[in-house]
């Protein structure tokens, strides 16, 4: 059984596709670091990521399918599911093997997996837009922190830049320990030193927060409580639409 081992990046996967055609070799399985090697891997090829090759594959892909379909493939890659990489790889090869455009062949299980995973990843990015909570710091920077399941901050940051373009903000992914800082003009990727307490609790300490921050948090919690209709309490639905894994950093839920 032929196995392609790649570095876990999207460029790596696309380099693998390049190799499949240049070396005329089809892997039954592609494996990222941390992924499980199949039991009988007789022929293991290590793919060395090469951006010039991956770009050629990407551009070729754009000539074969619509931009929407290509972007669904790129986004689905972010689902961090090792078993899925083989499906994605196989479908990209099918795109190149077929004379016609196969992007709407919804009876192909690989394609359905791509759509499902891109839906999941986009859903997570949407949840960042929904559930990010900012606290106002004394220097007028709005600070927001979350732990999304997938690496999606870069998909959400444009939304925040558009919305809060007249102010400074930070959005931070604590799980992957990086974020974005916008200073009112430029956006940059950044990393906070992890010895600050608000890095673990998500709560700005009093000496860093704006004087009115506590008041508005209190107002929000009050609003949250009193806008619910007591005759219709429905915790199951609340948890379904706002999963508990987000509550830690939600002002209205982190139980102060």
């Amino acid at each position: 059984m032929t196995v392609f081992r790649f570095d876990g990046s999207f460029d790596g996967l696309l380099t693998g596709v390049f190799l499949a055609y240049s070396a005329k070799k089809r892997p039954e399985c592609v494996v990222a670091p941390g992924g499980e090697m199949p039991l009988f891997s007789s022929d293991v090829v290590d793919v060395v990521t090469d951006v010039s090759k991956s770009e050629r594959v990407w551009n070729a892909l754009l000539r074969k399918v619509s931009r929407g379909a290509a972007s669904a493939m790129a986004i689905s890659f972010l689902c961090e599911d090792n078993a899925f990489y083989t499906s994605l790889f196989r479908f990209i090869c099918r795109v190149f093997d077929s004379a016609e455009n196969v992007e709407s062949d919804f009876s192909d299980a690989d394609l359905l997996a791509i759509l499902e995973n891109s839906r999941r990843v986009k859903g997570e990015a949407h949840r960042v837009v929904q559930f990010m909570r900012f606290q106002k710091a004394a220097d007028d920077t709005y600070f927001g922190i979350m732990e999304p399941r997938y690496d999606v901050m870069h998909m959400a940051v444009e939304h925040f830049r558009d919305r809060f373009s007249d102010g400074k903000f930070i959005i931070y992914d604590r799980r992957r320990d990086y974020g974005y800082y916008y200073d009112g003009r430029r956006l940059e990727r950044m990393r906070l030193s992890s010895d600050r307490s608000h890095m673990t609790t998500g709560i700005l300490p009093d000496d860093m927060a704006d004087a009115d921050e506590q008041l508005f948090q209190k107002l929000w919690r009050t609003y949250f409580k009193y806008t619910a209709i007591p005759e219709r309490i429905n915790p199951r639905k609340q948890r379904q639409d706002m999963p508990v894994r987000f509550w830690k950093y939600l002002t209205e839920k982190n139980g102060l």
Binding site: R133, D162, R163, I233
Partner: protein, 434 residues
């Protein structure tokens, strides 16, 4: 506060604990108005000011303990009211705590909440103080301050005060994304009986102002591109379900008429919560009729996205929706002669009518069948709920028994034994397994 280098005088009000107390009362007073949606407008931030409005689907920023989406700060300017509507907590004859927020307090809370990403914007309503125009004028001031002083680009929904003048409705429309006038009670006689100060004129007249405003604005914008938009997200309305004897057929017929107005985007249904038990003009419900409300939302959905006519969903023989099964299944069981439908050949519109096939799966089916003959395996992967659909389709493999051969009653029992009762009843988060 700074906006694009310009120092804007921030109306400096001291927010105190008293605001918390009043917010409690006024959020509580506004909570029965169901429409929370912030959809329908795309307004990008143009680099001046704060905020944008995301198009298409609105953003829910939180979910309250009743499971409903919190998208907007839904609040009343005041819950003092000179009217006495039987179904309303805020009616003047009720002895409830009353409060008022000032224009600048509402503006400030909205801005601060918005910047913290708690909300998409404001949904403002009010009890009627002094007279409708006096009240409406204050609501317009909130919207104008947000837009003009604070350059707020987020979402604003204003609930028009019944009986407000055309001038004020027109002014409000310049600042609001959406406006609503609630029908509340579908039948005019019932409305007058329960809300003596209101009649259909006080509801449908402002609706017509909004519609005309939108249409004239479209005309103006065709000629002059920079005319600001008027109520770009259209209007919505609400009907209370279960406070009056109206049937689902009456309700849906009115909804369907309302949707035929070009600017009407959403009709909301609100299961009546018995807030004024002492008033014997109203039924003494122990529980709000949540299942009925849920069925009405499903029916509404069928009219908007599935090409159903209101008369197909409820008619003189079946004036009320079956609470046990969803209205799409109900329709299919009343029409066994139309089935089975061949998924590999039938038109999209027909496929859409199959219980167990939704808008998304129907679109996937008509695309996928160009590549190969679809089997039930494919349908399952596409997301068709086979345990429902199997009674209504054929894909020319092992013929499974169709509703036309079995009896509709048998199919209904089969499906009911497999399905749990719906638990959710929110407009935006319905589970559509059809």
């Amino acid at each position: 506060m700074r906006f694009g280098g310009l120092k804007v005088p921030y109306i400096c009000i001291v927010m105190t604990e008293s605001v918390i107390e009043r917010l409690k009362i006024l959020a509580g007073a506004a909570k029965y108005d169901v429409s929370c949606s912030s959809s329908g407008t795309v307004r990008r931030n143009n680099g001046k000011g704060v905020g944008n409005t995301v198009g298409g689907i609105g953003v829910c920023h939180s979910f309250a303990d009743d499971g409903r989406c919190i998208s907007l700060l839904k609040i009343m300017l005041t819950n003092y009211c000179i009217y006495d509507c039987a179904y309303c907590v805020n009616r003047r004859s009720n002895d409830v705590p009353r409060a008022t927020l000032s224009v600048s307090e509402i503006v400030s809370v909205t801005m601060e909440f918005y910047r913290r990403n708690y909300i998409e914007g404001l949904f403002l309503s009010s009890g009627v103080v002094r007279n409708p125009d006096y009240t409406m004028e204050r609501m317009v001031r909130v919207a104008r301050d947000l837009r003009e002083v604070h350059r707020f680009n987020g979402y604003i929904h204003l609930k028009s005060i019944p009986g407000a003048s055309r001038e004020l409705v027109n002014m409000a429309g310049r600042y609001a994304d959406r406006m609503s006038v609630n029908v509340e009670i579908p039948n005019e006689a019932s409305l007058k009986y329960l809300a003596p100060e209101k009649d259909h004129k006080s509801v449908f007249e402002p609706m017509a102002y909004i519609k005309q405003g939108v249409l004239e604005n479209k005309e103006d914008r065709r000629r002059l591109r920079h005319v600001p938009r008027f109520v770009p997200a259209g209007q919505s309305t609400q009907m209370i379900v279960g406070a009056s004897p109206d049937s689902d057929k009456d309700i849906l017929a009115l909804s369907s008429a309302l949707y035929s107005t070009p600017t009407m985007r959403r009709v909301y249904y609100s299961g009546y919560v018995a807030v004024n038990l002492y008033d014997n003009r109203l039924p003494a419900l122990k529980q709000p009729p949540l299942v009925r409300e849920h069925r009405l939302y499903q029916a509404d959905w069928l009219m908007r996205f599935y090409g159903f006519k209101s008369g197909e969903i409820a008619d003189d023989d079946n004036p009320n929706l079956d609470l046990e099964i969803d209205p799409k299944l109900g329709w299919a069981l009343r029409h066994p002669e139309l089935f089975p439908i061949d998924v590999n050949k039938a038109e999209y519109e027909l496929i859409l009518r199959v219980p167990g096939i939704g808008v998304k799966s129907a679109a996937l089916i008509v695309n996928a069948r160009k590549y190969r003959h679809l089997t039930s395996e494919h349908l399952k992967k596409i997301g068709v709920v086979m345990k429902r659909a199997r009674y209504f389709i054929t894909c020319n493999e092992l013929a499974s028994a169709c509703v036309a051969d079995l009896s509709p009653e048998y199919v209904k029992r089969q499906l009911l034994s497999a399905v749990k009762a719906p638990a959710s009843s929110d407009a935006r988060q319905l589970q559509f397994d059809f």
